[in-house]
Symmetry: C2
């Protein structure tokens, strides 16, 4: 498969949505799906769906549509969810603790292998089957355990220091829940999850009588 | 202010990010900011920043930039975060419970007023100062308490029924954490928070040697 260097953030998000829709269609025993039906499911236009999928070398057959399972498997490969990823989570507070129980992660192949905290009362204890480690050893433990993705769920004041330790371990993918802009060197992918921003999106819609599509 | 009907999802997200950057700049006592500095902070191009802000009637002064506080207040009005919103949360499991403690919500004016669950052991109990109500009375209680935004944090199998009850209460804004596509009538704004999708974004980047900017 050619490496896809130039692809927009929103295209990647749409691929995730197609993937979810296709998993469901496959479960429901659909063999094919038209661009129109896939567009309806995801509140997009059929033209957008066709454009996205042709970009990835998938072409529907006129009158038949796309083969569900084949397209699902192809997008899984593109998204990297046809394999398992070693994930570590730093900060076992309210959010962190909820994430450990979040079944969608494991279902998509994201296996939380290591947990870290700086609270001496938590370190060494067992949290849903995983021992909480001391964040002081973060860099070394991430390296030793071949962690590929790290989730940051610490308070904002501690997030940059934690992020720096993760970068030192040569981890190339970070998901940040702390409400702060982190600095990472080029080559490290950083995504921010800010749940307040989603609410702002909704208040924007309320204030402006603007109808927000699913996103 | 003119009503903004035609504005893309990604523009609204960028406004949220400008707003965050401006709040921080104001706290740090900056009086002005250039489009270049604002772009750097948010990993965007200066042209994008100027385009977005001119769309909202804000023009920087050449050599001086944008007035920080004025621009911050203006974007707060556009996003609707200069006012308080009455929020209800349905589903006090792991995620729901973490959201009640999520300080960013209250900080942006999103006040969680009501909590709902269907677990008889939880109903009537006090959760961080708020009594958990019976989801069986959802529609009536949302109406009686003038709730404007509802957050769904129930298991996927229950999410559509809960969503239907919310819509019946004439609530126009829903934030959904259940990993399922909900159906809402036109005029109801729905946003989905799917944390696994953010991880998929990162695995995409790892698989394709693609460097993901902050987003």
């Amino acid at each position: 498969m050619p490496k896809l260097k130039r692809i927009s953030e929103s295209t990647i998000s749409r691929l995730s949505r197609y993937y979810r829709a296709l998993v469901q269609l496959d479960k429901d025993n659909y063999e094919t799906v038209s661009s129109k039906d896939l567009a309806n499911l995801e509140h997009l236009t059929p033209a957008q769906v066709r454009k996205d999928l042709s970009f990835f070398g998938s072409f529907g057959t006129r009158g038949l549509g796309y083969p569900v399972r084949e397209l699902k498997d192809k997008i899984a490969r593109i998204l990297g969810v046809d394999q398992e990823w070693n994930v570590a989570l730093v900060g076992i507070g309210n959010i962190g603790s909820a994430l450990v129980s979040y079944k969608e992660f494991a279902r998509q192949g994201f296996k939380i292998k290591l947990l870290f905290d700086n609270d001496q009362r938590k370190i060494g204890s067992n949290h849903k089957g995983i021992v909480i480690r001391d964040v002081a050893n973060l860099t070394r433990e991430l390296k030793d355990n071949h962690i590929e993705i790290v989730v940051i769920a610490v308070p904002p004041q501690q997030a940059q220091a934690v992020c720096d330790d993760i970068v030192k371990a040569d981890v190339k993918a970070i998901l940040n829940f702390a409400p702060i802009n982190l600095k990472v060197p080029k080559g490290v992918s950083l995504r921010n999850e800010n749940m307040a921003m989603e609410l702002e999106h909704l208040s924007f819609c309320l204030v402006n009588d603007h109808y927000c599509e699913q996103g």
